[in-house]
């Protein structure tokens, strides 16, 4: 079995535009386009995951084969260098070989003449936490671009509430994606409750479609995600008192007021609610990467304040 030949699996189609594409700003309200775009993005993510899995498998195969080679080398270092059973190519050094190729390179045949120095992957100063925060809520706004008559919307649309004396907007809900929208007479709309950026956009388009079908010339201008909330669990209890003592310029902890510690991170500008149980809520992000970055920043700090009793 020859190591290190990159495997072109039939699962990698050509010419499907595997490069990530920016979100297209279309003002047309076609739900079909949105759903097709979502499916394409999901397929791209799946393909990227498959590629990563294949690369990992290749690296493992190379490492396993190299270990086999090194053990067979030590056995045959005193024998003739002509190939043993099916193991080609042969290495002429009896150094033990630790090959884990650098991420992103798939080595072909290791050169028999060059000394093999152990190649280890770059180890970061601290390991990544391995925990990914899950998005729980996305708040976004969009401008429908025309004045709306809220009374006709409330009377004709389904699943709508309108109490002008209490609040000057129509509150509308849809089931898929499960979201709530506040629709104002100026034509501006707030969409809350989605679990991902694409779902928030799709939901906002569905609401705009409802308004359009009622006869208003609705457009889809300036869709913007205003806030993203994520949560995760570090799986160990935390000494909040210690954390507030050392990070007092960032933290505020009033157990009589609220059982969680409020940590205001400067970079990225995210607010984290940290609880004794180890659950963490992150909010204030405009993009998903800020949530991930904030959690990677706080995780080593939290590990340092792990409760040991």
């Amino acid at each position: 079995m020859t190591p290190g030949i990159p495997i072109f699996s039939p699962m990698m189609p050509y010419g499907t535009g595997l490069t990530p594409q920016p979100i297209q700003n279309t003002n047309s309200l076609s739900i079909l386009e949105e759903q097709q775009r979502q499916q394409q993005q999901q397929q791209q993510q799946q393909q990227q995951q498959q590629q990563q899995q294949q690369q990992q498998q290749q690296q493992q195969a190379v490492a396993a084969a190299a270990v086999q080679q090194s053990t067979s080398q030590q056995a045959t270092s005193q024998q003739a260098t002509q190939g043993t059973s099916g193991q080609a190519p042969q290495l002429f050094h009896s150094q033990t070989l630790t090959t884990a190729p650098l991420p992103g390179t798939t080595p072909l045949y290791p050169s028999p003449m060059t000394p093999m120095t152990p190649i280890t992957p770059a180890t970061p100063a601290s390991e990544s936490s391995g925990i990914v925060p899950q998005l729980q809520n996305i708040v976004s706004t969009v401008n429908l671009g025309c004045k709306l008559d809220l009374k006709t919307i409330a009377l004709r649309a389904r699943n709508a509430e309108y109490n002008p004396k209490r609040f000057a907007a129509v509150i509308m809900r849809i089931r898929e994606p499960r979201t709530t929208a506040l629709i104002f007479s100026s034509g501006k709309m707030v969409c809350t409750g989605a679990k991902s950026e694409e779902q928030s956009r799709l939901a906002a388009r569905k609401y705009a479609r409802v308004v359009q079908k009622l006869g208003f010339p609705a457009k889809f201008l300036d869709f913007k995600i205003q806030n993203m909330v994520g949560s995760c669990d570090v799986k160990f209890p935390i000494r909040l008192e210690g954390l507030v003592l050392t990070h007092q310029q960032f933290s505020s902890y009033e157990p009589e007021l609220f059982p969680g510690l409020i940590y205001r991170m400067i970079k990225p500008r995210i607010v984290l609610l940290i609880f004794v149980s180890g659950k963490v809520v992150l909010t204030g992000a405009k993009v998903r990467a800020e949530i991930y970055e904030a959690f990677e920043n706080i995780y080593p700090i939290l590990k340092g304040f792990r409760k040991t009793t």
């Binding site: 009374k151 409330a154 009377l155 389904r158 699943n159 709508a160 509430e161 309108y162 109490n163």
Partner: protein, 91 residues
């Protein structure tokens, strides 16, 4: 289609007064006198609230009273929300 021309007559006016009295009597009876309780639980198809008037469309609803059980595939509830709380249902 009969003409409503003759409502503004002595007979018509007194009958209209009776109708107003009927409205008041129904409201107070439902608010004070009637004590029956009906439970129901179902899937909510749609809801609407406008001007303190709620309307719901339920699917697969069972109205459960102590004495009897009424089922319906579809039920529309129109509910008024005001100082005197009252509601009426149509099936």
């Amino acid at each position: 289609m009969a003409y409503q021309l003759y409502r503004n007559t002595a007979l018509g006016n007194s009958l209209q007064v009776i109708l107003l009295q009927f409205d008041k009597a129904m409201n107070s009876a439902l608010a004070q006198t009637v004590r029956n309780r009906v439970n129901f639980r179902s899937f909510l198809n749609t809801y609407r609230s406008c001007d303190y008037l709620w309307s719901f469309v339920l699917n697969g609803v069972e109205f459960r009273e102590v004495t009897e059980l009424n089922k319906a595939d579809e039920a529309k509830i129109v509910a008024c929300d005001d100082k005197n709380i009252g509601s009426n249902t149509t099936e």
